[in-house]
């Protein structure tokens, strides 16, 4: 019956070929598993390439006082203490080895005069901690892993979108999807799956995220019954481009401030001195983003509604050496020479702290056989991620999830079996927009959803706005049932969008429902109607799960921190 489809069988299926997916694939393959890597794009194009500033690891190369304990404390405080502290501990202790491993695999970081890996300062990191390659660190990371991966004998399925995780009873049995090139259906039978699908920044209008960041992984995990956590926590990066309109949202690396850039309002005031007198321009991202938002609200914004970012005092040679992509980006897209002129910047959606709830050591979700790593998961970053922590996140937990998935697959006595009726039903669902004659345009539904999220669940939230947003999302969900697309299944982006939209609706409903529930302000979640932190809520994570009656939001207590770790935070 399944001969209509392309069929594959693997021990471990890795979904997503960014840093986390590639690292997981290398780990699972090294553990002896038959591994396939599935990516929506071509290999090496994942959103990881957009990471600019660096990878945070306490090597202590330029500041010998740095160590994993300080990195642990910085990350916990940056996340406003709702992080999974065990994840943070593993992360801070293992990040240095993952960076050196990358170097052994061929990565060429910038060097100190002594020939070690260079490290630069970044927001809310106590010491100079970010290993970097100019302002293209993510590209170096992904290219190194890609070249390592392709020589390790794993199958790569490029330009394949998965639409559903398949189960055998309560455990993972595989996944269903299609080839973007020709629309042909693919069925993967797999003992274990690692989700490494990244975030969902495309649900907002002003975003630094690439088209792929539509939340497929988190939505598929939710549909399959896995628990989500901290969905209300979305990061607004303080510095995106604001002008011209065609480039609004494109990221301006925090490395600009790391290399000495300062933020100014329209009156020429270095306003971060008021919001965070100690860390100033290198405060955590949530603080800087809110400060820029406030300056604009109070009438001290730039002509196009942002703040000025000035690095001119470092001189042309330094800027072109350390921030070449930024120099090029502003010159070619905005006619601004950043060696001579100030940039205009404002908040842009950048990262999802929330996601699939996982076990810290293994990345195991609440569903047997389903693992997660990287941005799709929750826990490490709590309520706010520090710059540079995502790249080390990908490596540390990519490796752990890949190894755990391989071990799980090796331990299964029997290969899970697929439910053919489920596959048949899914194959009919995904082609429905061709056959329904529906009138709703998937592109315009996506735009409407982006407007809703930007206005109703943006940087400054209220219970009332969020409730309105929820109603709009539910209406859009209803309209999405009437989507129609034209053309054939040959590389048809309109059809692809009709599959992305329901994923994004699920993600948005999760964000908004959790944001309504968390009645306080913490990290990226800023409620104008509940402006302070509530210590009681600081002991809770919000959990989202699917029930027969729809989406349910509950709370889970954060386990008390181990004493030795708690002592690190209280010591001065």
């Amino acid at each position: 019956m399944l001969e209509r489809f392309e069929n594959y069988e693997y021990d471990v299926l890795i979904v997503g070929a960014g840093g986390a997916g590639l690292r997981a694939a290398i780990a699972a393959s090294a553990a002896g598993a038959r591994v396939a890597l599935v990516t929506k794009s071509l290999l090496g194009k994942a959103h990881t390439v957009m990471a600019e500033g660096g990878i945070a690891a306490a090597l202590g190369n330029v500041d010998p006082a740095d160590n994993w304990q300080v990195h642990f404390c910085d990350t916990m405080r940056g996340g406003q203490m709702i992080n999974d502290w065990r994840m943070v501990e593993l992360f801070a202790t293992e990040a240095p080895e993952r960076v050196y491993e990358l170097e052994r695999w061929g990565a060429l970081f910038d060097r100190t005069p002594e020939g070690k890996i260079m490290q630069r300062p970044f927001g809310a990191h106590t010491w100079r901690r970010l290993c970097h390659v100019g302002d293209r660190t993510g590209l170096e990371l992904i290219r190194t892993l890609q070249e390592r991966g392709v020589h390790q004998g794993l199958d790569v399925h490029m330009e394949v979108t998965l639409t559903r995780l398949l189960k055998d009873g309560e455990r993972i049995a595989g996944a269903f999807g299609y080839r973007r090139e020709n629309g042909r259906f693919i069925v993967f039978r797999a003992k274990a799956i690692v989700l490494a699908t990244g975030g969902w920044g495309r649900v907002y209008k002003v975003t630094s995220n690439s088209w792929e960041c539509t939340g497929d992984g988190v939505a598929m995990a939710y549909e399959a019954g896995a628990e989500l956590m901290d969905m209300e926590m979305v990061q607004f990066h303080p510095t995106g481009m604001v002008w011209p309109p065609g480039v609004r949202g494109i990221l301006v690396t925090e490395g600009v401030r790391g290399e000495g850039g300062i933020l100014l309002n329209s009156e020429g005031e270095r306003f971060m001195e008021r919001y965070d007198p100690v860390k100033k321009d290198l405060s955590s991202r949530d603080v800087v983003a809110r400060a820029i938002y406030r300056e604009v609200e109070e009438g001290r914004g730039t002509p196009h509604g942002g703040a000025y970012l000035d690095i001119t005092h470092r001189g042309p040679d330094f800027i072109k050496q350390k921030l070449p992509s930024m120099y090029d980006q502003f010159l070619s897209l905005a006619d601004v020479d950043i060696t001579r002129e100030k940039m205009e910047v404002g908040p842009t959606i950048h990262y999802a702290m929330g996601g699939v709830r996982v076990a810290p050591e293994t990345g195991a979700t609440s569903l047997p056989g389903l693992y997660g790593a990287g941005e799709v998961t929750a826990g490490l970053h709590g309520a706010n991620r520090l710059g540079g922590n995502s790249l080390s996140d990908l490596l540390v937990f990519g490796k752990r999830a890949g190894e755990a998935a391989a071990a799980y697959a090796n331990g299964l006595a029997t290969t899970p079996s697929l439910d053919e009726a489920e596959i048949e039903a899914e194959s009919q669902r995904v082609v429905q927009p061709f056959e329904s004659g529906g009138s709703e345009n998937p592109y315009l539904l996506h735009e409407a959803l982006q407007e809703t999220m930007q206005e109703k669940a943006g940087i400054a939230r209220t219970g009332e706005l969020l409730e309105q947003g929820l109603q709009e999302i539910l209406q859009l969900r209803e309209r999405a049932g009437r989507m129609g697309v034209s053309g054939s299944r040959l590389f048809n982006p309109g059809w692809h969008m009709s599959i992305d939209v329901p994923f994004m609706l699920t993600v948005c409903e999760g964000i908004v429902r959790a944001a309504i529930a968390r009645r306080e302000s913490r990290g990226g979640h800023w409620r104008l109607d509940c402006p302070t932190q509530d210590p009681e809520l600081g002991r809770l994570n919000y959990i989202v799960r699917k029930t027969p009656d729809g989406m349910e939001v509950t709370t889970a207590p954060i386990p008390p921190m181990r004493e030795d770790l708690a002592a690190l935070l209280t010591a001065k």
Partner: protein
Amino acid sequence: MAEVVLQVFRGDASGGTEKAYHVPLVTGMVVLDAIHYIQAHYDGDLACRWNCKAARCGSCSAEINGRPRLMCKARLDEFPDGPITVRPMKAFPLIKDLVTDVSWNYKVAQQIPAFTPADGEGPFIMYQQDVERAQEFRKCIECFLCQNVCHVLRDHAGKDAYFGPRSMVRIAAYEMHPMDTRSRTALLRGAAGVGYCNITKCCEELCPEHIHITDNAIIPLKERMADEYFDPLRAVLRLFAKR
């Protein structure tokens, strides 16, 4: 509102033609924005690749008014006298509209021996002046515009003889890595076919990352290969070594 007219290639392996679209102009708009407008408002099935829209991923390569470049970096106000034609890369088999089959590039990448360090331990001590040469090549975003414009690949269908500029840049990145120990000159002389490059520098001219592909990668690789194989003294030594 001002508008621009784009002539966009529509078609697949069986053939196709250009189609005109009228798109309202927004300040700072790039060709990729116009393509997205067309998808949302006229033809939802217009196929193109893109990811980051910030010239980091190298996905949206196309030929704009005949010049191979990234759609995300081509501003509409560069073409005040319109019209703007957008066509797929010519050197690769067409899939549909602006999307071509670039899988060959990944197949040749797999044939290039990976980075092989002498010492498996580390951390490595390497100095900035020594890593900079290879760092230039690591900037490559794999847009394949250099492959597309290379005469050997584009006009002479030489994919079975020459791996192309992108691959030379990859080989150069390994060869000039301070810790790499492997020689790839046999590959360069053989399957990779570095001798086929006749140094017209077309690839170097349009690299969006401004990599000096010919001067810094291909010519030094040609020299390495020539030193190894065509140096008379070494040829004699090799003769004896074989015995």
